[in-house]
C-alpha cells in the first residue's frame, strides 16, 4: 500500500538529514506503529506519506514514496486527499468548520461528491464513531476525546485507504485515548484501512500494532513484528520492560498476555514489598479549604480540600476538563476563588503581587513556550534573575545543572520539547519557590526526556520542594508521585498514597500494577530491586 524507496529528507537549515535511506513497504490493512526517540524523523516520515513533506514543509526529498500507486512527489496533498487521511495531535488545529456534521462533510465537499453520497456517509460515520448524539454540537464544546474522534471521522468520510496519525492520543486522558484507539482498531479490522501512526505513549498503543517501525537517529529503520522489535527497542512500554526483566518469551505486549505469564513472578515477589518512599511530616505549605472556582458559567472546582506538604510529590489526575488546570491556576492566583480559600505560606495567591508570589509558588504551564520570551537562553536567564531578584547567574547555574551543555546563544524555540520544558523549569526555580506546579509536563516527551524529568523532580523533592503535577500519564504518576489526587467534575474523588489510589482503578493503574495485581507493585524499577534483593 505504501512503499518507500531509498527515501531521504534533508531540511535546508539542518546539519543532518531528518530521514535517511528508508526502504520499506507497508502492506494494505495493517496498523503500523512508528516508534523512536524525539528527533528520529517520525513526523517527517508521516509527512512524506500525506504529501506535506516536501510540498508544504520545504526540504529536499530524495527517493520515492508511493501511496496506492501515486507518487507523492508529483501529487500535492490535496490531490492525495481521497487516498490519505491525516490527523494530528491537536484536533482543534484540524477543524475548518464549526459544527460536527459540517466538519464530517467538509472533505467530501472539497472532493465534489454527490449530495446523496455525502448524506449517507455522514450518517454512517456518525454511527461508526459513536457521534450521533453530538451531530449539531459546536466543535469547541466537545471534550478532547470527542474532538479527536470527530477529527478522525472527518477524514474517514472520504473513505481514504490510508490513515496517517501523528500522536493522536498524547493530549488525551486515559479514557478518551481508549475511545480513540477502539475506533482505530475497528477501522483496521472492519474496513481494512491501512493505519500509520506515531505515538510516544507506547503503553497505550503497542498491543494494537500489526507491525512496528523503529526509527533511531543515525541507524537504519527496522520494520518487524511488534514483539521482535520491542525486544531491542530503546523505547518500550513498562509491560515490555517487565517482560525483559523476567525473561519471558515471546515478549508480551499487552497486560493480558503478561498476566498469563506472570504467575511465577507473582510467587517470587510474594513476601517482598516495594521500599516505601517516606515523606517527612512537616507543616503544610499550601492549604485549600472548600475551594470553589467558577470559569465563566462553569463551576470548575467545587468544595476542594487539599493540603500540600514540603518534600512530597503529588500527582493530580482526572479527565480532560475535570478541573486540574483550574486548581493549579488557583494556586498561582490566576483564578480568584468564588468561595472557600487558598493559603500559600499564609498568603492569598490572587491578592499577592506577582513579584512576591513567585517566591512562594511557581507554575510551569502546559506549553512551556508561554513562559519564554527571550531571544536566547542567556537572555532568558538574565530576565529570570531580574524577575526573581536573584543574584545574576542563578538561573544560568540552574540550567547548567538541569540541562548540561546548552549553548548561551540558542534560541528557546530551537530547543527540543524536553529541553524547553527544562529551561522553563529552571526559569521558575530561579525564584526558589518551595511549591512547584507542573501542568501536563510529559506531553510530547519521549521516554529518555521523561526519565530525566523524573530524576530532576525527585532531587527537588529531596531538597524540600513540594511538587504538584497535573498529568494524564499514569506511568509517570506511578514512577514519581508519593501521593495521587483524582479529580472528577471539579471534586476530589480520591486522595492518598499513589499505590493505594491507582492500583484499584482500571483507568489510572499503571501496567505493572495491572500485571502484578493484587501486589503493591507500580514500576519495573521496584520489581527489579525486589528481585535483586
Amino acid at each position: 500500500m505504501i512503499t518507500f524507496e531509498q527515501v531521504s529528507v534533508q531540511y535546508a537549515d539542518a546539519a543532518a538529514p531528518a530521514l535517511s535511506n528508508v526502504d520499506l513497504t507497508v502492506p494494505e490493512g495493517e496498523l503500523c506503529l512508528l516508534v523512536g526517540p524525539s528527533g528520529s524523523g517520525k513526523s517527517t516520515l508521516l509527512g512524506t506519506v500525506s504529501g506535506l513533506v516536501p510540498h508544504f514543509t520545504g526540504g529536499t526529498l530524495h527517493g520515492r514514496v508511493t501511496v496506492g500507486g501515486r507518487d507523492t512527489r508529483e501529487h500535492r496533498p490535496r490531490e492525495l486527499a481521497d487516498l490519505v487521511g491525516t490527523v494530528g495531535q491537536d484536533p482543534l488545529a484540524h477543524f475548518v468548520t464549526d459544527t460536527v456534521e459540517d466538519e464530517l462533510a467538509y472533505g467530501m465537499e472539497s472532493l465534489g461528491l454527490p449530495a446523496d453520497v455525502m448524506r449517507r456517509r455522514v450518517e454512517e460515520t456518525l454511527d461508526l464513531l459513536g457521534l450521533a448524539d453530538l451531530r449539531d454540537r459546536a466543535l469547541t464544546s466537545l471534550s478532547g476525546g470527542q474532538q479527536q474522534r470527530v477529527a478522525i471521522g472527518s477524514v474517514l468520510t472520504v473513505h481514504p485507504r490510508v490513515l496517517v496519525l501523528d500522536e493522536p492520543t498524547s493530549a488525551l486522558d486515559p479514557g478518551a485515548a481508549e475511545e480513540v484507539l477502539a475506533v482505530l482498531q475497528r477501522l483496521v479490522h472492519d474496513l481494512g484501512t491501512t493505519v500509520l501512526m506515531a505515538e510516544h505513549r507506547l503503553e497505550r498503543v503497542v498491543q494494537y500494532a500489526d507491525q512496528v517501525l523503529l526509527l533511531t537517529p543515525g541507524a537504519a529503520p527496522v520494520l518487524g513484528e511488534p514483539a521482535e522489535v520491542m525486544a531491542h527497542s530503546p523505547v518500550h512500554p513498562p509491560v515490555v520492560g517487565l517482560g525483559r526483566l523476567a525473561g519471558w518469551q515471546p515478549l508480551p505486549l499487552s497486560v493480558r498476555d503478561a498476566r498469563r505469564k506472570a504467575a511465577s513472578l507473582r510467587d517470587r515477589l510474594d513476601g517482598h514489598r516495594p521500599a516505601a518512599a517516606g515523606v517527612p511530616a512537616a507543616a503544610p505549605i499550601a492549604v485549600a479549604e472548600r475551594l470553589a472556582v467558577r470559569r465563566g458559567p462553569v463551576a470548575a472546582l467545587r468544595g476542594v480540600d487539599l493540603v500540600i506538604r514540603p518534600g512530597e510529590i503529588t500527582a493530580l489526575m482526572g479527565r480532560n476538563g475535570a478541573g486540574k488546570s483550574t486548581l493549579l491556576g488557583g494556586l498561582v492566583g490566576l483564578h480568584a476563588p468564588a468561595s472557600g480559600s487558598i493559603r500559600i505560606n499564609g498568603r492569598t495567591p490572587h491578592r499577592t503581587r506577582p513579584a512576591e508570589l513567585i517566591r512562594e509558588v511557581g507554575l510551569v504551564p502546559q506549553d512551556p513556550r508561554d513562559l519564554l520570551y527571550g531571544e536566547s537562553v542567556a537572555a532568558e536567564c538574565t530576565a529570570a534573575d531580574a524577575d526573581a531578584g536573584a543574584a545574576p547567574g542563578t538561573c544560568r547555574a540552574l540550567v547548567e545543572r538541569l540541562l548540561p551543555g546548552i549553548a548561551d546563544a540558542t534560541h528557546p524555540r530551537d530547543l527540543s520539547e524536553g529541553q524547553r520544558l527544562t529551561l522553563a523549569l529552571a526559569v521558575v526555580l530561579t525564584a526558589r519557590p518551595p511549591l512547584l506546579l507542573l501542568d501536563e509536563p510529559t506531553r510530547g516527551l519521549d521516554y529518555a526526556a521523561k526519565a530525566r524529568l523524573v530524576a530532576i523532580l525527585r532531587d527537588l523533592a529531596v531538597e524540600g520542594h513540594a511538587v504538584l503535577l497535573a498529568t494524564h500519564d499514569v506511568e509517570l504518576a506511578a514512577e514519581l508521585a508519593h501521593r495521587t489526587v483524582i479529580l472528577a467534575e471539579g471534586e476530589i474523588v480520591a486522595d492518598g498514597p499513589t499505590a493505594e489510589v491507582v492500583v484499584s482503578s482500571p483507568a489510572f493503574a499503571p501496567q505493572v500494577a495491572k500485571v502484578l495485581a493484587p501486589g503493591p507493585w507500580l514500576t519495573v524499577h521496584q520489581v527489579a530491586e525486589a528481585l535483586s534483593a
Binding site: 496533498p77 486527499a81 487521511g85 488545529a93 472533505g107 467530501m108 465537499e109 530576565a383 524577575d387
Partner: protein, 358 residues
C-alpha cells in the same frame, strides 16, 4: 404543524435589510420604535439555540450606547439646529479664535436634543435590524451559500472570524504567563509585550490550518478549457471596471444619465464571470439550505416593508420626518403602521428552528 428547520440565511438577511432600509427613510420615532419592536418580536419567535443567537442582546446594547453617545454629544457640543426653547445652559468653555464654529457647553435646546434623539434612534434601529439578522442566521452560514467562485473568499472570512476568539484566548493565556514570571499582568505594557508571541502563535496556527485544509482537498480544481478560463477573467475584469466607472458617474453630480446602464451592464458581466468561474470549482454542497415558500415569504415581507415605506414617505414626508423646529408631537399614520407590521409575517409563517433535545 410544519417540521422544524433552519430558514435559508439569505432570506433572513434580505428581510432584515428591508427593515433596515425602511428605517433609513424616516426619523419619526414612533415608526422607528415600531420597526425595532417588529424585529425584536421575530427574533424572539424564531431564533435557534446556537451560540450566535445570543448576539441580539449585544446589538441592542450597542444601539442604546450609540443613542446615548449621540445625545451626550448634542448636549456637550451643542447642535446646529436653531432652537428657542432653552432647557438649561451649560457653562461654555472659551475657545481661541481659530476654533471658531466649535462650541463646548452653552445652551441646550429642546429642538437640538430632539433632532439628536431622532437621528440616534434611526442609527440604533438600523443596528437592531442587523443584530436581528445576525441572531437569526449566522454570517458563516450565509457565506456557505455563496456561489462556488467566491467560495475561497468566504473561507478566508470564516477562518478570520474563528481566529478572533483564538487571539483573545492567546492574549489572556500569555498575560497569565507574565504573572508566572513575576511581572505585573495589568496595564497596556503587559498587553503590548505579549504581542509578538501572540502573532507567532497565530501564524503557527494558520500554517497548521492551511496544512490540514490542504490534506483534506481544499483547492482542488477541475480542468477547464483555456478559452473558458480566459472568458471568465475577461468578463470579471470588464464587469468590475464597469461598476467602478458607474460608481464614479453616480457619485459625481450632473451627467449621470449613462451611469445606470453601465452599472447594470457591469453587474451582469461580473455575475456571468462568477457563474463561469464556478465551473472550475469541483465542490459540492452538503445539505444546502433549500429556498422554498417560507423563504420567499420572509424575503418578500422585508422587501414589502421597504418598498411601502419608501412610497409612503414620498407621499407624506411630514409624517415620516416630523419637524423639530418648532417641536411637534410626531403622528403615527395608519398606513405606515400597517406597512411596518408586514415585517411580522416571518414570525408566524416560517417553520420554527430545530431545538436540540437536552
Amino acid at each position: 404543524m410544519r417540521t422544524p428547520r433552519q430558514l435559508h440565511p439569505g432570506a433572513w438577511w434580505l428581510w432584515a435589510l428591508g427593515l433596515g432600509a425602511a428605517a433609513t427613510r424616516t426619523t419619526n420615532p414612533a415608526i422607528l420604535l415600531l420597526l425595532a419592536a417588529v424585529a425584536g418580536y421575530v427574533v424572539a419567535a424564531r431564533r435557534g439555540d446556537a451560540p450566535w443567537s445570543r448576539s441580539y442582546g449585544a446589538f441592542l446594547r450597542l444601539g442604546l450606547f450609540v443613542l446615548g453617545v449621540r445625545l451626550l454629544f448634542a448636549i456637550l457640543l451643542g447642535s446646529p439646529i436653531p432652537g428657542t426653547h432653552v432647557l438649561f445652559t451649560l457653562p461654555e468653555v472659551p475657545l481661541p479664535v481659530w476654533a471658531q464654529g466649535v462650541r463646548i457647553g452653552g445652551r441646550v435646546t429642546v429642538e437640538g436634543l430632539l433632532a439628536a434623539l431622532y437621528d440616534g434612534l434611526r442609527l440604533a434601529t438600523l443596528l437592531v435590524c442587523v443584530g436581528a439578522a445576525n441572531a437569526l442566521a449566522s454570517p458563516a452560514r450565509l457565506l456557505r451559500a455563496l456561489p462556488g467562485a467566491l467560495y475561497e473568499a468566504g473561507v478566508a472570512v470564516v477562518v478570520a472570524m474563528t481566529f478572533a476568539p483564538n487571539l483573545v484566548a492567546d492574549v489572556q493565556r500569555l498575560r497569565a504567563a507574565r504573572r508566572l514570571r513575576g511581572r505585573t499582568d495589568r496595564g497596556i505594557a503587559a498587553v503590548l509585550s505579549v504581542g509578538l508571541p501572540v502573532l507567532e502563535g497565530a501564524l503557527e496556527r494558520s500554517v497548521a490550518l492551511a496544512a490540514a485544509m490542504d490534506t483534506r482537498g481544499f483547492g482542488r480544481t477541475a480542468d477547464v478549457p483555456r478559452r473558458l478560463a480566459r472568458a471568465t477573467a475577461a468578463l470579471t475584469l470588464a464587469g468590475l471596471l464597469g461598476i467602478c466607472l458607474a460608481a464614479y458617474g453616480l457619485l459625481t453630480s450632473g451627467s449621470a444619465g449613462w451611469a445606470l446602464p453601465v452599472l447594470l451592464l457591469g453587474l451582469a458581466a461580473a455575475f456571468a464571470g462568477l457563474l463561469l468561474g464556478s465551473r472550475r470549482s469541483v465542490r459540492t454542497r452538503y445539505r444546502p439550505d433549500p429556498w422554498a415558500f417560507a423563504e420567499w415569504l420572509t424575503a418578500g415581507s422585508g422587501a414589502a416593508v421597504a418598498a411601502l415605506t419608501i412610497i409612503l414617505s414620498t407621499r407624506d414626508p411630514a409624517a415620516f420626518a416630523p419637524t423639530v423646529v418648532p417641536p411637534t408631537v410626531p403622528v403615527l399614520p395608519l398606513a405606515a403602521v400597517l406597512a411596518v407590521l408586514l415585517g411580522l409575517i416571518p414570525a408566524f409563517a416560517t417553520p420554527t428552528p430545530p431545538r436540540r433535545a437536552s
